[in-house]
Subunit: 245 residues, 2 copies
Amino acid sequence: MNAHLDLSNTFIRKLDAFVPLSDADKAHLAQITAKPRVVETRTDLIREGDAPDGVFLILEGFACRYKLRASGARHITAYLLPGDLGDVDAPLLSRMDHAIGTLTPCRVVRLEPAVIEDLLQNHPRIARALRIGTLVDEATLREWLVNVGCRSAVERIAHLLCELLLRLQVVGLASADRYALPLTQLDLADTTGLSNVHVNRSLQELRRRGLILQKSRTLEILDLPSLKGVAEFKPNYLHLEPRAA
Amino acid sequence: MNAHLDLSNTFIRKLDAFVPLSDADKAHLAQITAKPRVVETRTDLIREGDAPDGVFLILEGFACRYKLRASGARHITAYLLPGDLGDVDAPLLSRMDHAIGTLTPCRVVRLEPAVIEDLLQNHPRIARALRIGTLVDEATLREWLVNVGCRSAVERIAHLLCELLLRLQVVGLASADRYALPLTQLDLADTTGLSNVHVNRSLQELRRRGLILQKSRTLEILDLPSLKGVAEFKPNYLHLEPRAA
DNA sequence: CGAACTTTTGATATCACTCAAGGGACGTGG
DNA sequence: CCACGTCCCTTGAGTGATATCAAAAGTTCG
């Protein structure tokens, strides 16, 4: 039984950070996420216009929500990191208004609508954690809008790097100052509304100032206070503080 | 009794467009929204850092969600138009990560958490409409992110004007090609991530091309197909099509 | 070892910003 | 009814941040 309380399960870790779960809760979550499928890089899980059927859960790897313009330009509107789940209420809508695709190889589970319904109806702590997760996703979207709407290129990149640090720490995929960052500069460009060339120059600027170090897809943050300062990063929107009961 | 099925109640009209409501549903909604309070222009309903207590419903006027930067810069992340409601789950979080304030004089109702809870638990059609409303709010946020992230100034403004037309039509506040637009150019600037000067020039450009006409706070759209074309406006994210049962 | 992808660099172009001042519109009080 | 203040819109000139284009250098992986 204890083997089922899988500490490597990022989904459980994330929900548990929002609302402390019972062992039974964890065992149940371990069971319904037991059979992930492997999806390779740059693969769509669902496309704009498709009927949503169930909800995708990312257990490993980076995926994203994105929209395409007629010109072919892509804008990434959210990252789905390990432990992240699509919209639990998505099946209420008849058509997807955006696509979800992988940015790296991923382990993914599709949760059936009935399974989601059961979690929401019969597992109050899990339901609460899922609802909070949705609110945080929305708050993150707002923060991204502010990021693109009124920060300079260097500030945007710095902000994004700070956010990723905290979100990856929650699921145990970042140390105090370092994490694996498998995104390309083009991915970062499509996220921040910049050109890939300018992302490159902004990263150089952060390195030049001694704030970060990049080596073989790993990001090391050399001076987190300064990086946060550059980005004017306030983590309140991630709602990671323990909540009042 | 029929007097209670208040057709002028924008909230009822909006929810009814998502999910057809029964007369009892409508009467109940009319009752809990019967005592709005009047709030004057540029007044905060709740500020960043406050504990959310209940949810605000806008019955008349324009309000918005916004965030402030340390510099004092404001970014508007959403409009709350007549019929729009704040996040039904917001009380799950201990602190607001953004503020909500009026942009014009408004009629506002604060719905108590217990009232919301009752709607979600005991009024299935209303609950469904509220959940869909939340999803549409999120989809709108994504579209705004794309708007700011990869459209030019003229395109952004055109897109916003198209969106407002459809959203106001749902609650009966826009005709086929015209609505009252009480926002200042500074409001539009803080919404689109542009300077007020550039908003001014972009509006002039749309007028020059014969797409819109502005007269005493009223916007008339002279050529909707072209305006949509400029914006590359696809209304699917508003999910106004009737849903399959 | 070669192919495909990603990062980096340089040169040039452009969109949007800032600053500053003038012109309307509207309301209020004399 | 006029005078004035305030807020908003408009205009011009100059600047700056970021985009685009094109090519070279580096990396990864079969």
